[in-house]
Amino acid sequence: MKDIIDRIKTKYTISEVVEQRKNLSFVTVSKEQAISIITFLRDIEGFKHLVLLTAADWIENDKFQLTYLLNNPTEKIDLGVRVFISRENASMESAHHLWEQVATYQRELKEMFGIDFPDSPGVDKPFILEGWEDIPPYRRDFDTKQYSEDTYFPRPGRESNDPAEYMKKKLYPNE
């Protein structure tokens, strides 16, 4: 794995390398170089299989983290390519030309996080949600509890508990 990362470093800039385990590492790269690095990994380094593409919301840093998890089926190693993009007008270059399933991932990310992928086929079409008018629901600032209280009528006579408090009372009554 170290050799591969060294080879990437000769061509591109990597800001952080984390070796999670022997066959899994994460590298952080810039938004501008990401698709080029992923293409290099796919075509030259044998990372032919895209395991997943997902995002995490680091609202405190005002950033979204995009993770492209690539797998090399021959060497049996995984490399996660992480890209941090701004939450404000979040947008990323599309990778739909590299793998067929990427368009679906990008469509979901647009809907759930509001990250745009210009030119990705069908990226603006609703995927899971239909008629959604609130902020994208997987963003950290979307309040699920508030949403359900506002949207669904509370049933009379229904007792509601805070799950953490309830379990604590059950399991450790004396604490």
Binding site: V51, W99, L129, A164, M167
Partner: protein
Amino acid sequence: MNKKRFTINEDRSLFPEKNAEGKIDIDLSSHKYLKLWQGPQHPGITGNMSLELTVLGDEVMDCETHVGYLHRGFEKLMERRKYIQCFPIVCRVAVPEPDFNEYCFASAMEELAGIEVPEMAQWLRTLVLEMSRLQSYLMWIGGQSGAFGSGIIGQWSIYLRDLVLDRFEELTGGRVYHMYQLPGGVRGLLPDGFKQRMEETLLTIEKFMDDIDKVMFNNAVFKKRSVGMGYIDPSWVNKFGITGPNARAAGIPLDVRKDYPYLKYPELDFDVVVGKDSDIYTRADIRRKDLLLSVDLIRQIFAKMPEKGDIKAKTPNVLHWKVPKGETYSRAECTRGEYGYYMVSDGTEYPRRINVRGPSYTHAVALLEKMIINTNIADVAGLMVSLHTYPPEIER
């Protein structure tokens, strides 16, 4: 057996020509085409998603997958739950295979927290995963045969699945959802006489599989409708992210149990089942052999596992457990392919982000939409089941 690739309507002169992108220009106002919705109320096991088909005669010209009928926002819910509170959630992501979710979630958490799972717990986890595989395949047999008109086979196989669920009930207290695996290990040892009762169940299943061989795999109708149908080209495997039996039927030996050994699989003796024709029949055959492999693996596990031992590593109080900051990906081989959990921890008591990588995400959208073109509408259900998709994984 005639291995010729299955085609319908070989005279294409009545069909419109394809444009430069390889698609046809569909003009609904020409009254040649009909929009047909398959699902979401389809009674097969692929329910809860729908296909918007555009048909010309009885041939599918265009297809768009619609999901969202089962979205419960699991990934978001988990961000608002402590790690231990996620266990009743993860098992509900894939109804017939809850244990793979539990295992992937638990192992990702253990990796981040640096917890070593005791040997006995590893054996029990391997056992539960194989039992889960067994009952999921039994459910699939019903779906596949039912889609091609043999509804009775589904009734038999669901009965046998119930026998496996009886064993699950004995071991875990739950039939469908088990919540048996916890961070650091499992909840309990095998009950008295469990091995013997499991062996009886395995013998019943083996006998049933002999019948299945006769009534399904040697059935003229099933063969005629499945041989040469639904071809997956081996070059699509990486292009579409295909894993599991769908890739193995195309001759690509992808199996997480062998490629990325986990739990006690390195100590078990088995070969990856690989096919070559890559049609519906081959995929069904791969799954049948995989089911019988699971039976064999359960016997091997019983023969090799110790009688007693620690089943849970020492962990912090689960209600105040701060999992160290970091991220990881944990995978397992489920009946449909690679199942994985991508976990990001920010060092608090709550996960920052969990992403579930279900094999259906790639199989049921991009791949299915491609494969279904030029299929007869009567074969659509059979084709869907042959990819063995579960919609809840798409819309976690």
